[in-house]
């Protein structure tokens, strides 16, 4: 029981640390949100009229008072579930803004993660089972090479070839002409827009699962119980699937839970390259505009997701593998 209490205590303590960091980091840097916003609206080759800055500052009510009093206000409103109003999307609240962007990211990145997890684990398991064959080499070497390519670069090439060159896929946005709803035309519109971002992610994400699964499984295949199973004359396939793969899957599954928590991280990369209307682009925009309320809420959302996934993974692990309670206490 102590194990679980510790984990939950850590969860809360970390949450506080993260909330505080979220508060501090944007504020320690120079720059005034009103000026940034006007500058970004006008472009750098524009003279910003002092009266406009004055008006916008009045509108946004840019925080004043000492850092400490701002901090207390911030904590207080968080407790009340009030994340404030976005500067960029004034007068919409941070919650409204995020709720518009969240579904896009969830759908795109979650589907990609699931596919790449399944593909990665299966390929990794086979590579381990067929160790030192040509299949193994092709999978490990191939996935290492494509998986370490710079996604920015991959996106550039994909866009250049398939969007600008061949014109097979649109280059930007989440959908275009169709009216959102559960219709085939809308689904088609969404899928064609999601294709290139998804492919980019699918090129770079499976490598981790492949190598992780392969290594753990190779390790397991050398274990005594596998040797025993083989000695007992069980068929190879049974040994591979029932024993080695199943045991090797455990770390991968907890890893997957954690990875799901960091969906936003993956989203930032792809969404900005393809102008996808999700959380990642929103985050880029929030950084650019010094939109503290929005940035804080996004960081908080991500962290809470990661923390929660970690907590679940830890608890799961504690249940599944009692030894972990000792080692990782």
């Amino acid at each position: 029981m102590k194990y679980f209490v510790r984990k939950i205590g850590f969860f809360l303590l970390t949450l506080w640390a993260v909330v505080t960091l979220n508060f501090l980091i944007p504020r320690l840097q120079p720059g005034d949100p009103a000026e940034k916003l006007l500058r970004n609206l006008a472009g750098k080759n524009a003279q910003i009229d002092p009266s406009q800055i004055q008006a916008l500052r009045t509108m946004l009510g840019v925080p004043d008072g000492s850092l400490i009093s701002q901090y207390w206000q911030y904590l207080g409103s968080l407790v009340r579930g009030n994340f404030g109003v976005s500067y960029t999307y004034y007068p919409f609240s941070v919650i409204e803004v995020i709720s518009k962007a969240l579904p896009w990211t969830l759908v795109l990145v979650t589907i990609v993660y699931v596919i790449s997890f399944v593909v990665g684990v299966v390929l990794g398991a086979f590579a381990a089972w067929k160790r030192n064959t040509r299949f193994d080499s092709v999978v490990t070497i191939g996935s290492t090479f494509v998986g370490t390519l710079n996604p920015f670069w991959i996106a550039l090439i994909l866009l250049s070839v398939f969007a600008y060159g061949l014109g097979w896929f649109p280059s930007d946005g989440g959908y275009s002409e169709a009216t959102p709803g559960f219709t085939w035309s809308f689904a088609y519109d969404v899928i064609s827009h999601a294709a290139l971002p998804a492919v980019t992610l699918l090129i770079v994400t499976p490598i981790g699962w492949i190598l992780g699964m392969r290594n753990t499984m190779v390790l397991n295949l050398g274990d005594d119980y596998i040797r025993l199973a083989k000695a007992k004359g069980l068929p190879n396939r049974t040994v591979a699937l029932k024993y080695a793969a199943r045991n090797a899957l455990l770390p991968s599954i907890t890893g997957f839970a954690i990875a799901l928590g960091s969906v936003l991280g993956g989203a930032i990369l792809v969404e900005n390259a393809f102008d996808y209307p999700g959380l990642g682009r929103l985050m880029g925009e929030a950084v650019e505009n010094k939109d503290y309320p929005l940035l804080q809420a996004l960081m908080l959302l991500t962290t809470v997701a990661t923390l929660t996934a970690n907590l679940i993974a830890d608890l799961l692990y504690g249940v599944l593998d009692p030894r972990a309670r000792k080692v990782d206490a």
Binding site: N150, G265, N310
Partner: protein, 315 residues
């Protein structure tokens, strides 16, 4: 591992995520030390690692002798802009009139430097925190250090790096290295903590303790040598991460724009619409060169994995 979205445990992190594996590994490794096979020999025994080492060596030579190899200064913008590839300009010139090939050659310096420094700093931080934390397991010191480690692990690294760099006043190599290092040590620290916990109850440590050796001496004299493979793996991993992260940041326009690196080349070429203008080499080559370097580093890490995981050896 959770520092990076979507990338599950490999290398040292895999050990951390599986207590079972960690225990097994350490035992294997200790067995191994009885019939000493030098670590470089183990790494070299892997075909992939051999290829990786050779490629890396080529990159290092290119970086060292860049002034001899590159025909021009990477910042010399006196050439005719937008020249196609030719004998004078193997990869053509940029829109600003600099030689793409020379930039490519000099770019290797930034990548390798960032990899070296980022890897060293992250490894040192991970070592110090991981070892102290592991050795003092169960005490308040461990609790505090573990708290830092775990917090650093769950804070979303990528948004954090972007925020830090976007708001920093001067974007130099030092900033990039620093930011990468302080956001990337946690996974390795946790792995080292896990391993030291299993090591510190070993007989030779107990023996040392009874003979009255100090804690620091035990940690660094008795235990550390037994963790060399984990340290090497951590270093290679961190260096690889740092190289990729620098290129990624630079490609976003958040790099050190005073330095010529492959990432800044990607950023500039994209911002200048190089593909639209038909300057394919300017875009394609830096990305490929970067990919090959990181692949080579990853291959080396395959070899390093063999150190800690003899079962993986290609027999």
């Amino acid at each position: 591992m959770s520092t990076t979205p979507g990338v599950p445990p490999t290398g040292d992190d895999a050990i951390a995520s599986s207590g079972k594996a960690a225990v097994g590994l350490v035992e294997d490794q200790l067995e191994e030390s009885s019939k000493p096979q030098q670590w470089y020999a183990v790494i070299w025994s892997s075909g992939k690692a051999r290829v990786g080492v050779i490629i890396l060596a080529v990159y290092i030579l290119v970086a060292l002798f860049a002034p001899l190899i590159a025909p021009y200064s990477p910042t010399d913008s006196s050439f005719l802009p937008l020249s196609p590839a030719s004998g004078d300009h193997l990869l053509g010139t940029t829109t600003a009139g600099t030689d793409v090939f020379s930039q490519l050659i000099y770019g290797s310096r930034v990548s390798l430097l960032v990899g070296l420094l980022g890897g060293v700093i992250a490894t040192i931080i991970a070592l110090i925190i991981g070892m102290i934390s592991g050795y003092t397991e169960g005490t308040i010191i461990d609790d505090i250090l573990s708290f830092f480690t775990n917090t650093a692990l769950v804070i979303p690294t990528l948004p954090l790096i972007i925020t830090l760099v976007a708001y920093s006043e001067v974007r130099g190599i030092a900033l990039i290295v620093g930011v990468i290092a302080i956001t990337s040590w946690a996974g390795a620290a946790r792995a080292k903590r896990a391993q030291i916990i299993t090591l510190r109850n070993r007989d030779f440590v107990t023996a040392a303790r009874f003979s009255g050796e100090g804690n620091l001496r035990i940690i660094f004299r008795e235990i550390l040598p037994n963790m060399s493979s984990l340290v090497v793996a951590g270093f290679v991993g961190a260096a690889t991460g740092a190289i990729g992260a620098e290129a990624g940041l630079a490609a976003l326009g958040l790099g050190d724009n005073n330095a010529v690196s492959w990432g800044t080349m990607l950023y500039q070429s994209n911002a200048q619409g190089a593909l639209q203008q038909g300057l394919y080499l300017w875009v394609v080559v830096p990305g490929l060169v970067l990919g090959i370097l990181i692949t080579a580093m990853t291959f080396i890490n395959f070899g390093v994995d063999l150190l800690s995981n003899p079962h993986l050896r290609e027999d």
